[in-house]
Amino acid sequence: MIEIRDLHKYFGALHVLKGINLDVEKGEVLSVIGASGSGKSTLLYCINALEAIQQGSVLVDGTDVHAKGTNINTLRQNLGMVFQQWNSFPHLTVLENVALAPRIVRGLDKARAREIAEQQLVHVGLGDKLNNYPLALSGGQQQRLAIARALAMEPSYMLFDEATSALDPELVGEVLDTMRLLAEEGMTMICVTHEMGFAREVSDRVAFFHQGIMEEISPPEELFGAPKSEHLQKFLSKVK
């Protein structure tokens, strides 16, 4: 379970998260929507400590992420993350991309790491690309590679930071399908997304961020069907 309490984040003088309180249960799929600059991506970075926070706390399975004694590298293994820019490692093959972290971070032996990597690549539909280099892959395939890479750490949570925003329109579907598959398998997911269709169909709850504040959070039918906040109404009328 992820528990976020009174989270404040500043970039210099800029107050980007203004007191966020949010619980994400095991098995839940939460979508986070909002205009760019609303702080939704920053929230993800605060959950796996890629960004420091200035006030409040984030607990993952009871461990305080931003506490001094926390081993952040161990904790991150449990929090898979997929970026907008897929960030595949260009100097490694598809299989090596996925097998590297299990080997050097989890300390698995080479054969076992490759086995897990292959499993995850088949899982996301890249079983036939194991020995290709990422640059030979389409954006959608590279993004699925990034998902497999995160899954190979066998995390309990997956954080998606606008995973489809940088993709050509015709490639968005394959990545969303992969995310949908994970959701069906019961993975706990927080998805920052601009894909309203995905948010509506797949999420258990949807959160709307506006200027660093979580203005609304409710099941999708409710949030999309009867938006309460004025900002959300405006936002939804624009994205449709």
């Binding site: 904790l75 993350m81 490692f89 971070v105 989890r106 995160a150």
Partner: protein, 219 residues
Amino acid sequence: MDYNFHWKPVIKALPELLEASLLTLQVAAISIVFGIVIGLGLALIRLHMTGPVKWLASAWVELARNTPALFQLFFFGFGLGSFGLHLSPYMIVLLALSFNNAGYLAENFRGGFGAVPETQIRASRSLGMTAFQAYTRIVIPQVLRIVYLPITNQMVWAVLISSLGMLVGFRELSGETQFFASKTFRIFEYFAVTAVIYYVIVKLILGASRLLAVRLFRY
């Protein structure tokens, strides 16, 4: 043209010249290894540190790049000699070349680090890698590919400027050539053959580098 060419003595000296070429290659190769290691260090210092250490690294890089190689050779020769530090000709050339290589390669490494996106580190850290792992496993291999061609060019450059060794009494290819030339006064013939040998060495380095690249970088 009323000059009679005499190639016989040069042909006779060919084994010695070829042996001296090996010395040229050796000193250039060792200086490149030093250049890579030190250049990488200088680049990292300039990217990540402040204060006097950074200042020293910058001074090294700028001096190596903005003064003649011959000046640097003189410095390691009679410059250090004036402080009572008398080095062998081999050491003078090796140190001067390494100093020069490190300065030039440091700038290439700096550009290389700049060319690997910050997000690669983020992605690595999100997988639980330590900062050190992210650097050694993800960033540096990519940087090495970017600086591979500059390193090759620097190796060629090191071979070319190692010829200055003849000015400090080092018997590498040029020094050996000068030794024979001054004995026989067949200066043109000796240096013409040496020019051909240098040309062949340079082509061999470029060819070997291309072959190695195919094996090293499959992406």
